[in-house]
Amino acid sequence: MNKAKLKSIIVRFSPLITVGVFILIWYIAAIAVDIELILPRPALVFKELLALISGKTFWTAVGGTLSRSFTGFAISFALAMILAVAGFAIKPIHRAFSPLVIISRAIPTMSVILLSLIWLTSQTSPILISSLIMFPMFYSDFYSALNNIDKGVIDMAKLYKVGAKDIVTRLYIPNILPSVLDSVRSGISFNVKIVIAAEVLAQTRQSMGISMQISRVMLDTASLLAWTAAAVAISYALELIVELIKRFAVKWRRA
């Protein structure tokens, strides 16, 4: 095997090597601490994870958390898109909405969570929390994506009397799509994290958050880490799906 080939193999598998090193450090640390309650060994956590996956409650919890994540995500995405387009088309709207965006960006996550617990039910407050936190991020991303489109190209299209429908479908959408998908990709796993945090505090039934909380209350650290691993895997899978959509969309744009 030549050197270049070896190098390419190492590069290709470098993420796996990192995961391996991480698990190795974890294993060494667990042996050093030697207290299951504080840091269980990786094998125990994987065993716990397998036991979780084979149970029915795991899937209802994951389903519940995902449906709340998607609802919150959809609300914030739609709201941000509508307002960003409106603000881009009519500048005074952008100015008028700017305080709202600033407030929703500056408001501490914890106070949103605590307030919504008083106002809403345990099933709905994670949704409100996720949409309130995701909205300002999406809004600024979308708005700047729209503003980054080359004005000259649009002016030219107008000059050549290209129809409004074509300007939208062939200029605006293809131009903002990559950055919109980028922010969706980073937002989608962040959103799952927020929903889980909210579920812990809201004591949401059938959720990953409450399952983690119950593991914690019962000092079942292995199960808490197993749930954590599951959450990481789910977030990664979601990001991967968005990445695939992005690749597909880029191809479509070129075609």
Binding site: A29, V33, I35, L37, Q203, I210, V217, M218, L219, D220
Partner: protein, 329 residues
């Protein structure tokens, strides 16, 4: 090759760091006694104030935020003695830390509060009862009582329209339940003292309906509701001869002292960093139900309590019933 060397070096450094971190937990020059914040801290209020010292050893007394810190510090040896929720004590023991239960110290500070009067638990069918912490001991206890009384229940935030079942709904702490009772969104809720007194003061028309420990006694033929115990690490008990008897006397003495001196007890807790803000009076202290029963006399009550918790989920007590060696003789 150079890169591989660097990678191996990083692993070695990380491992070394972890080892030293783990090692420094085991060194200690003094005895440490910890207690979770809130009502259980009352069990050592006088000791927090007087800071009594045992023989030539230095003893530190500390309030920690909750059960998670208790278990971590007892397990890694940072603390030697602690007041711990009974199921947590069993849990620590079952997960391989050799501890002894020295005494039972709190006998139930949970109460069912309502903005409407009911005479019997079965009147709660068709109602929503709020509880603190899904899967926690207040939840498991209440379900156990309902089971024993033959009252059906289900988890939901809306009441059963047919009126056949009790709906159980959860909040994470008493602080969230009080506003719900106040706005009328919740009619019934289980709270721990001193949050109960706070609720009764702030929510007009609210009443203390049942003491959970009374309901417990009803369904267990008069057993005590042994909510929290005093535990010690076996190595510390062996190392400091006579300390258990010495601490037991102090814990026993404390029971009468807090009953007679609520204001001093409160000041002692506040000085030790407690976040308890409710003004304690004799009535609230009595409702917190602090007592002292040596393990050998409380054994059957504790066993019944642990069996009940494990009947829902063995993980609540760490997988199995602890052996009798857990009780200090």
């Amino acid at each position: 090759m150079k890169k591989l060397f660097v990678a191996i070096l990083i692993v070695i450094i990380a491992a070394a760091a972890v080892f030293t971190f783990a090692a420094c937990n085991n060194e200690k020059g003094s005895i440490k006694i910890i207690v979770p914040d809130g009502a259980p801290a009352l069990a050592i209020a006088k000791m927090l104030k007087d800071k009594p010292q045992f023989d030539k050893y230095e003893i530190t007394y500390e309030i920690v935020p909750g059960a998670a810190e208790i278990s971590a510090k007892i397990a890694n040896g940072e603390a030697d003695f602690a007041i711990a929720p009974t199921n947590i004590a069993a849990n620590i023991y079952n997960k391989g830390t050799d501890i002894r239960i020295i005494s039972a110290n709190t006998f139930g500070n949970l109460y069912l509060v309502g903005t409407e009067s009911v005479s019997d638990l079965s009147d709660l069918k068709g109602e929503v009862v709020y509880n603190i912490g899904m899967g926690g001991t207040p939840d498991l206890t209440f379900k156990y009582i309902l089971n024993q009384m033959g009252i059906e229940y289900f988890a939901s935030d809306v009441a059963d329209e047919t009126g056949a079942k009790v709906a159980l709904h959860y909040v994470s702490s008493g602080a969230e339940l009080i506003p719900l009772l106040k706005t009328g969104n919740a009619k019934f809720g289980i709270l721990g003292e001193p949050a109960v007194s706070q609720a009764l003061k702030n929510v007009s028309g609210s009443i203390r309906l049942f003491a959970i420990h009374d309901l417990w006694a009803d369904v267990t033929e008069g057993l005590d509701y042994t909510q929290a115990v005093f535990v010690g690490r076996k190595d510390a008990i062996d190392k400091y001869e006579g300390i258990v008897e010495w601490l037991s006397d102090l814990l026993d003495e404390n029971v009468d002292w807090i009953a007679a001196n609520p204001a001093e007890a409160q000041a002692a807790l506040a000085d030790a960093g407690s976040t308890l803000t409710v003004a304690l009076n004799k009535q609230i202290i009595r409702a917190c139900n602090i007592g002292f029963v040596p393990a050998k006399y409380a054994k059957s009550d504790i066993n019944a309590y642990l069996t009940a918790m494990a009947s829902f989920n063995a993980a609540a007590i760490g997988g199995k019933m602890p052996e009798d060696t857990i009780y200090y003789q």
